[in-house]
């Protein structure tokens, strides 16, 4: 396809990116999706909304985030010039707040009183709890019981912020099941509740709205690159679970076909095992959580359990737009496993004094392991999507059992 038509074509009026997307949800919430889509289309272009959100992004979130030259990692790898887009420096420590802030403004506009969200690593839960506190709204966050165990600091954070964290014990007790439970809550309380989905997944218009609130990452990068290098980056790398940080940094470059875009999925214990979360690499088309996307599933269409050391990537699907970008071959999807992610986390901590989130460490790991494949004067930007404080106990446990 001609990429120059991309922005005005996708999603189409039915919420599809090619064959992916749509609205596969119970009838009860369809009117709420229409309400959300209308509210979004009406208010995001108003000066009032733009001023409110840009003021908060600057003074509450701390944007623009820096573009940092990782001089010592670059020197150590003796490969391309590596830069980090520092989303970890946002308020609450990850890119998730960009979307949570935008959506709570929409919720307020629609007159909703109550906010719900799902969370895996807890970063989206914390971001949602934060904006709910900031705007004085009641908030419930669904989190898988297994994720609560491995991300306890974020659970305490949400509770301090006044949010009720509900433990989800059904199914695999991770992000997938937390999302099911959040959707069930929304089906039951749709009149007064807004569901802030944390990734570019779910029924239309969510994948579009979340993308639009996250594209600020790529928009800023574009400006920063033009100012500093007088050209665009050669390569942009981001980790992909549901895919919000990746879409955020990729999207403004989709029509720039010379910019290589690389998404890194979680290979867990290895893509040759059944213990991974590499949806695009190993999955096939199906429907989960309201949209058609690339999914890890059995031959009978049952969603299969996933594994990643990183709770935020431990999800069997990937957003419809990523599914589509993969079929277009516009984004290359690669993988990194648990061990290499932990190695990357250690290396980055020691070389640059930055402890990244385990999710982010997958993207860094890919660049570390493939440094020799890039040209020396390539500018490679990695989306440093989150900080690693939440992962300290997981990493410590992993290092006790594994020699990396």
């Amino acid at each position: 396809m001609n990429l120059s038509e991309y922005y005005k074509t996708y999603p189409d009026e039915h919420g599809y990116f090619g064959d992916f997307g749509g609205r596969f949800v119970p009838e009860t919430i369809i009117p709420a999706l229409n309400e959300l889509e209308n509210a979004y289309k009406t208010i995001v272009h108003t000066d009032e909304f733009k001023n409110t959100i840009s003021g908060l992004l600057a003074n509450y979130v701390g944007r623009p985030t820096p573009l940092y030259y990782a001089e010592f990692l670059t020197e150590f790898l003796d490969g391309p010039k590596i830069y980090f887009k520092r989303e970890d420096l946002n308020h609450t420590g990850a890119h998730k707040i960009n979307n949570a802030l935008g959506q709570i403004l929409l919720a307020r506009h629609m007159g909703k009183k109550r906010i719900i969200a799902e969370t895996g690593a807890g970063q989206h839960g914390v971001a949602t709890a934060t904006v709910a506190a900031r705007f004085g709204m009641e908030c419930v966050v669904y989190m898988g019981a297994e994720d609560i165990d491995r991300q306890l600091p974020n659970v305490f954070r949400m509770e301090l912020l006044g949010t009720e964290v509900r433990s989800v014990t059904s199914g695999t007790q991770t992000l997938k099941d937390a999302t099911n439970e959040a959707i069930r809550d929304w089906v039951s309380n749709v009149q007064d509740t807004h569901y802030i989905i944390g990734s570019v997944v779910g029924p239309h218009p969510y994948p579009m709205i979340v993308r639009d609130f996250q594209r600020i990452i790529g928009d800023e990068l574009r400006q920063q690159a033009l100012t500093r290098f007088s050209r665009l980056p050669d390569v942009i790398v981001a980790c992909v679970g549901g895919g919000s940080n990746a879409i955020g940094i990729f999207y403004p470059f989709i029509e720039d076909k010379d910019v290589r875009l690389i998404g890194v999925e979680a290979a867990g214990l290895g893509t040759e095992t059944d213990q991974h979360a590499a949806s695009i690499t190993k999955g096939r088309t199906g429907v989960l959580h309201g949209s058609k996307m690339t999914l890890l599933q059995s031959s009978e269409g049952q969603i299969t359990p996933t594994h990643s050391i990183s709770a935020g990537l431990d999800y069997p699907g990937v957003g419809p737009e990523h599914s589509f970008l993969n079929t277009l071959k516009r984004v290359e999807y690669q993988t990194a496993d648990d061990v290499s992610a932990v190695k990357a986390l250690k290396l980055l901590s020691q070389k640059e004094g930055i402890i990244p989130a385990l999710e982010t460490a997958h993207a860094i790991s890919y660049v570390i392991e493939n440094a020799a494949k890039f040209k020396k004067d390539d500018i490679v930007v990695i989306n440093l999507s989150g900080r690693g404080d939440k992962d300290l106990s997981s990493v410590r446990k992993f290092l006790e059992r594994n020699d990396v």
Binding site: F24, P26, V190, L295, E300
Partner: protein
């Protein structure tokens, strides 16, 4: 004419409601489905809805979630369910409807699914995560095969959309009694909102309607009787059988419950 539509017309002529029971296959016991279906058919149930278990049943409450997971543990899949339907239809002419999320159908293949349903004697399909916006995926193939796509309407559905759902739905219109997921609710959950919703559908369509989600007792059915052509009971029937120690006891519990709730 559609078997389901015929059932509604025939019952209406006699001034009776259509009784619909939802079951999860082989739950709580293996070998239960066929005798359970036969028993239900002998006890005033005209349509049996069999749930195809799915790993992520987002329209279902805790009772059906649990029964679905148990069925999945027993490796129940579409093929096995179609075999059970074939066995049921050898013993009784009760109408069979499958309730399934869309993903298992997509994996099975839409054409193979339709062919299997026709061969086994399935009359209709309910897909809770396939709203009006997405029915094009299966609608024409189902219509051509004479397999009823039974669509759901919710209290939140605006009237113009309701009209569109009604005109596309085959067999009957499945009215969701509450803004929520499946599962037993208190007697008093039915209120003026429910009656208004059903009246609104009535004023927009002459197709038969049945109400489900939340129903568990005779008193609720009595209240709703003036507004509907049929009733659907699921979670309450499943929960009734859970304390049983074997399939024979489960059958007895189910019979006692269904005789009490569907008294005519």
């Amino acid at each position: 004419m559609s078997k389901i539509k015929a059932i509604f017309e025939e019952r209406k002529k006699s001034g009776l409601k259509v009784n619909i029971a939802y079951i999860t296959p082989e739950y709580p016991f293996s070998g239960l489905t066929v005798p359970l279906a036969v028993m239900l058919a002998e006890n005033n149930v005209q349509i049996i809805e069999i749930g195809v278990p799915f790993s992520d049943p987002l329209a279902d409450g805790p009772v059906i979630q649990k029964s679905s997971f148990e069925a999945l543990k027993k490796n129940i899949n579409i093929e096995k369910i179609l075999n059970l339907v074939t066995e049921i239809k050898e013993q009784t002419d009760v109408a069979i409807v499958l309730m399934t999320y869309i993903n298992p159908i997509l994996s099975f293949g839409i054409d193979s699914f339709i062919a299997g349903c026709l061969k086994a004697g399935v009359s209709g399909i309910i897909i809770p995560d396939l709203p009006l916006d997405e029915i094009a995926l299966v609608k024409k193939a189902f219509d051509d095969a004479g397999l009823d796509l039974i669509m759901l309407a919710a209290p939140t559905t605006p009237s113009d959309r309701l009209e569109n759902i009604a005109s596309n739905s085959r067999g009957f219109i499945y009215c969701v009694s509450v803004t929520g997921v499946t599962g037993i609710r208190k007697t008093d959950y039915i209120d003026q909102t429910t009656y208004d919703f059903l009246n609104r559908i009535r004023s927009l369509s002459s197709k038969p309607i049945a109400i489900g989600f939340g129903l568990s007792e005779r008193e609720q059915l009595n209240r709703l009787a003036p507004y509907t052509d049929g009733f659907i009971i699921g979670s309450a029937l499943i929960k009734t059988m859970e304390p049983a120690s074997d399939k024979f006891e489960a059958l007895k519990f189910a019979r006692d419950f269904i005789q009490k709730v569907f008294s005519n």
